[in-house]
């Protein structure tokens, strides 16, 4: 498995990341470098794939569900993103995400600006947003404008809010048949590679 081998390459003995443990940020960087070397894909693309994985993979279904609490439509979800760091903090107090500012640029278009401090945040967010647009059944264009110094700016244009039938989401995990069984799951180094 590429992920496992990359983890091992980054730190001998490392077989994956545990969702509830804290790791050195530099280690994440080394795993990504090793993964990039092994797959021949650029680091940026891997980070985007990680974002998509978090939303799409059954291993991390819980994350998709928690994100869907942001709004009933993709537009509502986009406008709830300024709450995202606080929401994440309520779920996992150790997890501090940089702020996200949401600005309306016109009908169906928003500009997202993130605070600095987490390299790769912009790329992961782009992956999450693309996957969430699909999840809501919306057709959207997500462009990472820049991510200089760790602070990223993304533009999101919703071309068609009801482009396709989105994935089902019901408030109650117990009543849901949308498969709420997945956990937060292991990262890509531990689980299947995205």
């Amino acid at each position: 498995m590429t992920g496992r081998a990359s983890a091992e390459a980054a730190q001998p003995g490392l077989t994956g990341f545990e969702a509830m443990l804290i790791y050195d940020d530099a280690l994440t960087g080394r795993v990504l470098d090793a993964l990039a070397e092994r797959t021949g894909l650029p680091r940026e693309m891997l980070l985007e794939d990680l974002g998509t994985y978090l939303v799409r993979h059954p291993n991390t279904e819980a994350i998709r569900r928690l994100l869907r609490f942001g709004g009933e439509t993709f537009a509502e979800f986009l406008h709830s993103l300024d709450d995202l760091p606080d929401r994440v903090g309520l779920a996992v107090p150790d997890l501090r995400l940089p702020s996200i500012e949401v600005r309306d640029l016109g009908p169906g278009q928003v500009l997202l600006s993130t605070g600095p401090g987490l390299p790769g945040y912009g790329q992961v967010l782009a992956g999450v947003l693309r996957a969430m647009a699909d999840d809501y059944g919306s057709l959207a264009l997500v462009v990472l404008l820049d991510c200089a110094g760790g602070a990223a700016r993304l533009s999101v244009t919703v071309a068609d809010a009801a482009f396709a039938e989105g994935r089902r989401f019901v408030l109650s995990a117990a009543a849901g048949t949308d498969g709420a069984s997945g956990g937060i799951g292991a990262g890509p180094a531990g689980g299947a590679a995205p």
Binding site: E18, A19, M20, L21, A62, I63, R65, L66, F69, G71, E72, R87, L90, A91, V92, V170, L171, S172, A173, A174, A175, A180, G183, I184, G185
Partner: protein
């Protein structure tokens, strides 16, 4: 029951304040779970979410007290009683299954036109949302129920993840412990495991027997046929020990060709001697190796906890050792019971 913080009577329609006039649609947006009750106690209208919850037919036109059972404060039996609890924290539930519970607050309408009762799920929200298949649109944006559901789910997901990690760590811990207590070559317990068990048996005041076994002519097998033959023989000895002891007994390899067995609850020395003889007989069965037979034997020394006023691990091991050497001196291939002084 009184409210935890007694409030002054609510100044309904206080003098000088203009009564608000809010239409049904606006009221439904603000409070999707409200009920307007007439002065006769009949439901005049209700919010859309509450309407969805009622499975036994439309609510308007029915008597409030037929639909809801008031639990606290004491059940009002008439409209006058409902007016009396206006402004107080109410607990009530549907009379019809699934008997959904509510928190409520009622205020009188101006001009004696009845009352406005607003409801929420309270702590039962998670169950109610599941039961009734509610969506975010069923709640007013000012209502924090959806945020509460988010928190419950986030907490469950984090908890589940922690549990998974704990299970994994526990599995790794018990595997490491098992490894730390096992003799790698024979799969028997090791010296540490033996010493732990011995200390526990003594500490808890249990009666037990202790048998020290040393192989005879093992060194010759090792020297003439090599370590591979020696390892094979040790494996056969381990199998012999395992075959003759009970599940609750402990058989440990202390190192080299030396073994100690513990028999919890067994202090009958004749019985232990019989076990030793059976073990020795099994050990004496030849083990085929590379076209030849490895033949060894064993000597045993036995002691039991009841020989001592206050058994001590070191003393018991020493005494079993002395008895073992008595067996060796007496010609090997036999068992000797320690003779308490």
């Amino acid at each position: 029951m009184t409210a935890p913080f007694p409030r002054p009577p609510v100044p309904f329609a206080a003098a000088g304040t203009a009564a608000l006039s809010v239409g049904h649609e606006a009221l439904s947006l603000l409070m999707p779970m409200h009920v307007v009750v007439s002065s006769t106690g009949h439901i005049r209208s209700c919010g859309p979410t509450l309407a969805r919850l009622a499975r036994d037919g439309a609510l308007p036109g029915r008597r409030l007290l037929e639909v809801f059972e008031f639990q606290r404060p004491a059940a009002p039996s008439a409209m006058d009683d409902l007016m009396a609890v206006a402004g107080r924290r109410l607990s009530l539930r549907f009379r019809a299954p699934p008997r959904t519970g509510f928190k409520g607050l009622a205020v009188p309408l101006p001009g004696g036109q009845g009352a406005l009762l607003n409801l929420s799920f309270g702590i039962g929200a998670v169950a109610a949302v599941a039961e009734h298949g509610l969506t975010a649109g069923d709640f007013a944006p000012t209502d924090l129920t959806v945020e509460m559901l988010y928190l419950v789910e986030a907490k469950s997901a984090a908890m589940e993840e922690s549990r998974r990690l704990n299970r994994k760590l526990e599995g790794a811990r018990s595997a490491a412990e098992e490894q730390a207590l096992t003799d790698a070559l024979t799969g028997l317990r090791n010296r540490r495991a033996l010493e732990d068990t011995l200390a526990r048996l003594i500490g808890m005041g249990h009666r037990f027997g202790l048998m020290h076994i040393d192989l005879d002519r093992f060194k010759a097998v090792n020297d003439t046929l090599g370590h591979a033959a020696g390892d094979l023989v040790l494996g056969a000895v381990a199998a012999a020990l395992a075959a003759e002891v009970r599940d609750e007994d402990v058989a440990a390899r202390m190192g080299g060709d030396e073994f100690v067995l513990l028999f919890p609850g067994v202090t009958d020395t004749a019985r232990l001697e019989a076990v030793a003889r059976r073990i020795i007989a099994r050990i004496e069965e030849p083990v085929p190796f590379a076209g030849t037979d490895c033949r060894i034997s064993a000597s045993a020394g036995i002691t039991v906890s009841t020989f001592y006023d206050r058994p001590e691990a070191e003393q018991m091991l020493h005494d079993a050792d002395l008895a073992l050497y008595a067996s060796k001196r007496a010609g090997r291939g036999r068992a000797t019971v320690h003779e308490p002084g």
